[in-house]
């Protein structure tokens, strides 16, 4: 009996080990593939020319493979969307966790979560059909498909993440801290800004990084509403071509294992390094957050 049970356990453990190894191996192979298909572009252009070249004309003759405008576009769209999403997400979280009545919170929270469930293509569609004409008419810009529109749509995608994680962090601040502050004659606002928010700041920071990292790699929205011009933007209403949009739009037409193909994969490497960077930061903050959370209890 005991021997049989032990052998079943052993089989199970081996099985799970194999599954885990397989998924890690697949991920690793994708990474190897990405580098194998991307690195050959550097036989054509130097790393510096590739990263800082301002011309992206992959199909002209001779082609230009400078992804600087694409990198700037990605960074700019991300930055503008962060500027929109962080205050909105964090303030909504503060409202829901601290100020809203129970009834209001119960209605609002599912709506925020619903926003997270919207497929990105739907958000992109909304940006194209509603927001773009609106921007064009109201602001009189050349095209409504531009950096600002993309940033706005990406902000919609980041806000649910930022809001729900921040809300958890704020909510989990022990009530005793609020009482301690109020008992000293602090107002509700002072308590909120000087005690509750600082006590949950690492959770809020985690939410922000996670929310933004979702926006960095997002493809469909920027493909649909960023406008697609591979130029360094001079205003937030210029059309731009972020890295994921460029890859998605051009991959189908790039000749297999041609220079253009390699250049797109190399762009993928750069994008990968960006999102990796964000995830590492999120991880570091999240770990620290856990420690603080325990210590404060």
């Amino acid at each position: 009996m005991a021997g049989k049970r032990q052998s079943t356990e052993k089989v199970m453990r081996t099985f799970f080990f194999c599954v885990a190894t397989a998924s890690i191996a697949v991920l690793f192979m994708i990474m190897v593939f990405l580098f194998m298909e991307g690195l050959p572009v550097f036989n054509m252009v130097s790393v510096k020319e590739f990263l800082f070249g301002v011309y992206w004309y992959p199909t002209s003759d001779p082609p230009d493979f400078g992804i600087y405008p694409l990198i700037v576009a990605s960074l700019a769209v991300t930055a503008v969307s962060a500027v929109i999403a962080i205050p909105l997400g964090v303030m909504t979280a503060i409202y829901l966790a601290e100020l809203a009545s129970k009834r209001v919170a119960e209605i609002f929270k599912p709506i925020v979560e619903l926003l997270a469930a919207l497929p990105s293509v739907v958000i992109g569609f909304f940006g194209m059909v509603i927001v773009a004409p609106f921007l064009q008419q109201v602001l009189g810009v050349a095209t409504g498909l531009n950096l600002f529109n993309a940033a706005l749509m990406l902000a919609f995608m980041s806000i649910p993440t930022i809001c729900s994680i921040s809300e958890d962090a704020i909510y989990s601040v022990p009530n005793a801290l609020r009482e301690g502050s109020l008992a000293l004659g602090a107002t509700q606002w002072e308590t909120l800004w000087r005690v509750v928010v600082p006590a949950s700041i690492s959770g809020i920071a985690t939410s922000v990084i996670l929310g933004i990292s979702r926006a960095v790699g997002e493809t469909m929205v920027v493909l649909m509403v960023a406008g697609g011009a591979a130029m360094v933007p001079s205003s937030i209403f210029d059309p731009v071509r972020p890295m994921p949009a460029s890859i998605a739009a051009e991959m189908a037409e790039a000749p297999f294992r041609g220079d253009h193909y390699y250049a797109l994969f190399a762009t993928g490497i750069v994008l990968f390094l960006f999102t990796l960077f964000f995830n590492i930061i999120a991880d570091i903050i999240a770990t620290r957050y856990r420690q603080v959370g325990e210590a404060s209890l």
């Binding site: 129970k102 022990p174 009530n175 005793a176 801290l177 609020r178 009482e179 301690g180 502050s181 109020l182 008992a183 000293l184 004659g185 602090a186 107002t187 002072e190 000087r194 005690v195 600082p198 006590a199 603080v292 210590a295 404060s296």
Partner: protein, 257 residues
């Protein structure tokens, strides 16, 4: 008006009933607290001492299901009057909680916080008051070299004294203390009791304690609570030597609770 001032009454509760939802935690509690006196609230666990104490600075307002009936006066003001400024009330009636609740800030900032929210900007004055309060709470020697470190790194007893220092820094008129010595060793307890004696000269002090000896040592008046009712109140010496009621006698001699 002059009446309450002349006989030195600082706070009174009149026919106070308190409810957590449907559960009535306090029944018809009437008590007077005089200036320059220490009142001890004693009674078995769960009898409503903390609940009563928290009524005195309206801390129970934060509990949505809580409801108060009756009156509490601070000098001539009804503290449950809708027009009363709760923030001002809490500045005048300070509190040390049953469980230490330091802010996740430095030791120094924990004490400076109350001063800052009370509008004191003068750095010199803040520093002076912080130092003074920590010294009075018998914590100075232990933390003087780590004022900038997180208060969460202090031991439970140190945190408790830090919370006392924090409450003293804003110089309230009434100090409510919920078992301020529950996590302290005999030496620190002694120091806190000395502090209470000293504070008595200026403040009105109300202290919850589970230690009969402590109540006997520090208080002038003792009030005995039992299952939400004020059973007996009187001169500490009299109450401990010749209690009027059997219930009180049983409790202070350790026959229950």
């Amino acid at each position: 008006m002059s009446d309450s001032k002349s006989n030195g009454v600082k706070m009174t509760s009149k026919h106070l009933d308190f409810y957590y939802g449907n559960f009535q935690a306090l029944h018809d509690v009437s008590l007077e607290f005089k200036k320059q006196q220490v009142t001890a609230l004693i009674g078995p666990s769960g009898c409503g001492k903390s609940t009563y104490l928290r009524c005195l600075n309206r801390m129970n307002d934060l509990i949505p299901i809580a409801r108060v009936e009756g009156k509490i006066m601070l000098e001539d003001e009804d503290i449950y009057d809708p027009s009363l400024d709760v923030v001002m009330l809490r500045r005048r009636v300070g509190m040390v909680f049953q469980k230490p609740n330091p802010f996740p800030k430095s030791v120094y900032e924990n004490v400076a916080y109350g001063l800052r929210v009370n509008g004191i900007r003068d750095k010199g004055l803040i520093e002076q008051r912080v130092t003074e309060s920590i010294q009075r709470a018998a914590l100075w020697d232990e933390v003087k070299d780590r004022l900038q470190e997180s208060a969460l790194g202090l031991s439970g007893g140190q945190q408790q004294r830090l919370c006392i220092a924090r409450a003293l820094a804003v110089e309230p008129e009434v100090v409510l203390m919920d078992e301020p010595a529950s996590a302290l060793d005999p030496i620190a307890t002694q120091k806190i009791e000395d502090l209470i004696h000293e504070l008595k000269k200026e403040y009105t002090i109300i202290i919850v304690t589970h230690s009969m000896q402590q109540a006997a040592r520090v208080s002038d008046i003792t009030a005995f609570f039992y299952i939400g009712k004020l059973i007996e109140v009187g001169d500490t010496d009299t109450l401990f030597t010749r209690p009027r009621l059997k219930q009180t006698e049983d409790y202070i001699t350790g026959r229950f609770g």
